[in-house]
């Protein structure tokens, strides 16, 4: 199909609207979580297998690097959840007009880091 319309796909110079950023991060966060499924399965199985297995899983999760990865994954979960709920509303025609869509996109982008910080604070307050 050839049309005279110009094609501009320079990814470094295309400016994504806020909704587009939310959308691509929804995909990125989803892929990140899919990649961790087998690791979670192995760690979960190991933790349930025996007290030694539980200790081994706890030891893995207690390392600095893994804790950072966990924070990244927690962000991914929060973003995926909030953006997913937003997309469900959009599917039903709620919040489709541009101003509203932009506002909820902005809220979604803020919500995930806020929820992340909130859960970090809570887990510090509640235990070790």
């Amino acid at each position: 199909m050839t049309t005279p319309r110009p094609v501009f796909l320079d990814l470094l110079r295309i400016k994504l609207p806020l909704s587009g950023i939310v959308s691509i991060l929804h995909r990125v966060s989803g892929v990140l979580m899919v990649l961790t499924i087998p690791i979670v399965a192995i760690l979960f199985h190991q933790a349930l297998s025996s007290p030694e297995g539980f200790a081994a899983t706890a030891a893995v999760l207690d390392t600095w690097l893994i804790k950072l990865v966990l924070l990244g994954l927690l962000w991914a979960l929060f973003h995926h959840l909030v953006a997913g709920i937003r997309h469900l509303f959009l599917d039903y025609g709620v919040g489709l007009d541009r101003a509203m869509a932009r506002e909820t996109a902005r809220l979604t982008l803020y919500a995930a880091p806020v929820l992340l910080v909130l859960s970090i604070i809570l887990s510090f307050l509640l235990g070790d």
Binding site: R27, G30, V31, M33, V34, I37, P38, V40, A41, I42, F44, H45, A47, L48, S49, S50, P51, G53, F54, A55, L77, L81, G84, I85, L88, D91, S119, L122, S123, L126, G127
Partner: protein, 114 residues
């Protein structure tokens, strides 16, 4: 998978699973932030509780179906080379099915008393 999980069915599957998974994720987040199992016995007791075991067992196929539809969409959109795309899709199906079996085995074994 082609007829069952493509087009409108895949779209619908992604949204219905999402609704269950959002509740399950919310529960798991609250559980692990406020009342995480501290040792092996607590973890087993939690997983072996009939309601928890049921919720988790139902969650396994739903999260895997959700993951599959999502990763399939991403691969279809971004991997242009057919053989690479099909190869990656096959790889993810293997990983997803194996992970699911491993999850279910862990849950059932905990219920039996391991």
């Amino acid at each position: 998978m082609s007829r069952q999980a493509s087009g409108l069915m895949a779209w619908l599957l992604q949204r219905t699973t999402a609704i269950y998974l959002s509740f399950l994720a919310g529960y798991l987040l609250l559980k692990f932030i406020f009342d995480a199992p501290a040792d092996h016995a607590e973890l087993v007791a939690w997983v072996a509780h009939p309601l928890v075991a049921m919720a988790l067992m139902l969650g396994v196929p739903l999260v895997l179906a959700h993951a599959w539809v999502g990763i399939r969409d991403v691969l279809i959109d971004y991997v242009r080379r057919t053989n690479l795309r099909v190869g990656l899709m096959t790889w993810f199906v293997f990983i997803i099915v194996a992970s699911g079996l491993w999850f279910v085995k862990a849950i059932i074994t905990a219920g039996i008393g391991g």
